[in-house]
Amino acid sequence: MQNKNNLINIKDLGINFGKASAVKQADMIIKQGQIMGLVGESGSGKSTLANAIIGLLPHAANIIGGTMDFEGRDMLKFTKNQWQELRGREISYVSQDPMSALNPTLRIGQLMVDIQYGSDDTNEVKLKCALDALEQVRMPNSKSRLDMYPHELSGGQKQRVCIAMAIMSRPKLLIADEITTSLDATLEVQIIKLLKELQSEIGCAMLFVTHHLTVVEALCDEVTVMYNGVIRETGSVQKVFSSPSDDYTKSLLLCDPARIQEKCRRLPVMSKLELKSISDPKMDKARIDLLAVPALSIDNLRVNFTKQRSLIDLLQRRPGMCIEAVKDATLSVAIGETVALVGESGSGKSTIARAVFRLVKAQGGRVLFDDADLLKATPHEMRAVRNRMSMMMQDPIGSLSPRTTIGAAVVEPYIISGQSSELNLGEEANRLLELVGLPSDFSNRYPHELSGGQARRVGVARALALNPKLVIADEPTAGLDVSIQGEVFNLLASLREKMKLSILIITHNLHVVRHLADRIVIIYQGQIVETGDTETIMSNPAHDYTKKLLAANLQAKY
């Protein structure tokens, strides 16, 4: 019978937070052994739905209607005991942030034994079970890991432990809530591969919650698309991705920069779905002036970080631990050119940007800007430089002073450089906000009242206040939904066409970079491993690491 096959049957489910509705009339069916992808942008309600299935909704949430069945049993009527029996045994949950998911005061082995609290086996048997689970998730040195504390493991290893804990009891359903969002692309590939293998070994069903469309395509059989609490479309991955029937799904697929093959002038965004591809590549290249002196030239930059020495080290004259964050980096940005510095977390890319701005001390090398070596400039000279070069920082809301209004924030560069008396700051603020597409009444808002995308735009506005020659953008698309990434991209693209702006983008997002950057520089563990123009690198990577990076980011089939 069809019902026997349905592991999870959700009909018309509604979940509210106070008066605001997070999930409206949701229908979803997960069959045994099926891998279901739950896709949506932030605020779509996908995590709320996932939390509801394991019964871990936050206090403020109420289920206001509908039904939710597990193998025919009504979950909404479960008692506390029934939920306890279900969790960890028949339904398992792996959460997004592996860093904080493990109790820091317990060893891994103790944690994994705790989870088996229901069984009567002896401790040794339970530990053996834990060991087996660790082996199954391909954890290196699994025996010694059992004795370690969580803080002694890396992020990827912690995630493996969480997955191991989830599969230990051979659950019928595994819920993975954005488990790869905080991981680097190369790591994400490994985890996805692992999940696929585990699923075929154990035969459990999976609910994979994410906003990475490429991952869903690779991993899942079925997909459900959510927007604003409503389920817009559901069906097999093949069908939905190749011929979506719902408008939102269509726009979502269209707007994902990863699915756009040809390089384009403007990416489609939710509001404007047309793709503007580059018609005349020569005209596009014309904005780059390769004959003049490059706008920014970094030669053999070296940056080391020394750990603070404790009192004992000081007394024993032991030198502190030294980390070479940037080793011998050389790159340049021509006038009008957009160069992307691509690497994963910890590669040193942000450090290079900070060194250029003298926010961290460099131990060697030269940074040439406007015929001056920035590393040797006096503070007075640096002030003049900062008029012509600006930086957009990574955290959009965090890089704005919490007690300064947006209007005051965007004109701050004028005040700092002493040019404020000659201008009407209010008008300037409006002009800048308009430039980035924000209404002028945003002037009175505070940073915490903005969304991520809006705050990013404010960052762009502030960076452009003094009409700089060069902008360094640190992860401009990080943390943004896929559709909003396109908006930021379009903004930067239109600005550089208007202003002959040179841009150095620091990022790990190869998808947007493919469209925006003229040249790509790949950095790995502090060293630049490859440079070249975008098309060449994308189609014909030379270095091994570049190949790995490309495979992780772009390949749809694993």
Partner: protein
């Protein structure tokens, strides 16, 4: 870990040295000639001069400090000006009374832990609200007022409990401990319970607790191993640091209840300008506080595995 311990102990010793020096310098400004006080007004000038020589009172300050530390290392804190007995033995006599009081206060304060935990787990409920109001009120009121009101009610109106002295014999001692302990301890129960409540609430919201629940681990086990184990170490540190305040309040309470102890000792010494005793007691108190703070710091580090050296 070992490195941190050594460093911490070194800092503690440094603090004691600094505190002692500061104290010594301050005492120098106390008016009055010690020789006069010790020998009485009828002593001859030669006798007084001889005494001054013996006590190094004519030497520059740093020499006096040096001799003081020398004596300190040998356990000699000087001599009581009025009774001529060594200060160390006077302190040793009075210390047990104070110690009993401090320990009973600590025990009473520990009751705040279950109260705070329960309030946190049943947040917003009637217990939480009532205990919240009561705690805040009690924390605010100065112990002296609490003590006086306790005396008014229990000693004078109801005549249930004694309000003077320390008592002899086990049960009498306990009876005499009740009101003084409550005078200091009520504040501390309130303080500890607020602290624990805030700590537990914060930990309850953390991801590893949610993960533990997602695996169906029963709530009381979660409370024990996942919440309290993470939330309590911070409380331990605060308690250790608060020993200073407990000692401070203890002085007043001893006077109020006419109990023997370090507090009464220093009070009498200050009134009679008996500066070796003042020095000695304040020093003893300081050392005690530094030891307590250092121990609680080290305990906190020991309890948190994150501070141990990474193997890989």
């Amino acid at each position: 870990m070992i490195g941190y311990t050594v460093q911490r102990i070194g800092v503690a010793i440094l603090i004691v040295l600094l505190a002692t020096t500061a104290l010594f310098v301050m005492i120098q400004f106390v008016p009055g000639d010690p020789a006069n006080v010790m020998l009485g007004p009828r002593a001859t000038p030669e006798l007084k001069e001889a005494l001054r020589e013996r006590l190094h009172l004519n030497d520059p300050i740093y020499i006096q400090i040096y001799y003081f530390f020398l004596g300190l290392l040998q356990g000699d804190l000087g001599v009581d000006l009025t009774s001529n007995r060594p200060v160390t033995s006077i302190i040793a006599e009075q210390a047990p009374y104070t110690a009993t009081l401090v320990i009973s206060v600590l025990l009473v304060a520990l009751m705040g832990i279950p109260i705070g935990t329960y309030a946190a787990v049943h947040r917003g409920g009637s217990f939480d609200q009532i205990s919240g109001v009561v705690s805040v009120s009690i924390i605010a009121v100065p112990p002296i007022v609490i003590g006086l009101y306790l005396i008014l009610l229990f000693a004078i109106q109801l005549r249930w409990l004694p309000a003077i002295g320390a008592g002899e014999g086990f049960w009498e001692i306990i009876k005499h401990l009740v009101l003084p302990t409550l005078a200091i301890g009520l504040t501390w129960i309130g303080y500890v319970s607020r602290l624990v409540r805030a700590s537990v609430i914060e930990v309850l919201m953390q991801n590893h607790v949610k993960t533990a629940r997602a695996f169906g681990i029963p709530e009381n086990k979660i409370l024990r191993r996942y919440v309290l184990r993470v939330a309590l170490p911070a409380t331990v540190t605060v308690l250790g640091v608060s020993i200073g305040f407990i000692l401070s309040t203890d002085v007043i309470v001893e006077i109020l209840f006419s109990r023997p102890g370090i507090g009464k000792l220093i009070y009498d010494a200050v009134i009679s300008r008996n500066y070796p005793v003042v020095m000695g007691t304040v020093l003893a108190g300081t050392i005690f506080i530094v030891v307590a703070t250092t121990l609680s710091d080290l305990l906190n580090v020991m309890l948190d595995p994150r501070s141990r050296k990474l193997n890989s």
